[in-house]
Symmetry: C2
Subunit: 118 residues, 2 copies
């Protein structure tokens, strides 16, 4: 069945959450948002492209930092309202220069930092 980006379920702002996972390590790197055009661009170019809500603009991940995400596999969930992109990540995924955005844990009621900037 051919895939149509507009067949996904977008929220009232026309966006769908996209989880980026390192295809090699399985580590969850970040979550950001795409609109239908960002989905189409990601599939067409193989370069993961989000929609930046703060800048209201397409955000080709790594375009300025060099920390690009090459698309390895594009998946979506049962309800069609969440994406999972498996990526080959160059450099740290997080703008804090950490490997993943999920670098803090709550353990025994306390915040623990799991890694520092690279």
């Amino acid at each position: 069945m051919p895939f149509d980006p507009t067949s996904l379920t977008y929220n009232e702002a026309g966006l769908i959450p996209a989880i980026a996972q390192d295809a090699a390590s399985g580590e969850v790197l970040m979550m950001a948002w795409m609109n239908a055009e960002a989905v189409a661009r990601t599939l067409e170019t193989g370069r993961v492209t989000y929609w930046s809500r703060s800048r209201a603009a397409f955000w080709v991940k790594g375009e300025s930092s060099g920390h690009v995400q090459e698309l390895v596999d594009f998946r979506y969930d049962c309800d069609g309202d969440c994406l999972l992109v498996l990526v080959q990540q160059t450099g740290p995924a997080c703008h804090t220069n950490r490997r993943t955005c999920f670098y803090r844990a709550v353990r025994g009621g306390e915040v623990e930092e799991l890694m520092g900037p690279e």
Copy 2:
């Protein structure tokens, strides 16, 4: 530093997306939503608890199906607006009885189903 669930950033509906990842396999299982009270209950009980937007009620994952998620680690991202819960998943995570909700891929412009119901 003690963790305060209300210190996270919730959307206009008071919700934050939570990604569930299998702690053993690394597989991303599903994405659902929590409010501050669901975050607190998840941490207190060790049983992953979402907020069901369709039912407008707390949703202790697996309460009716038996497909519970035991919390292994609770993490949150750089912006404090997305959660990652590492879980021990009993049975399939998806309501379609598949191991993960992300069972469809787009490859060469076509939809591929990666697994069937268990």
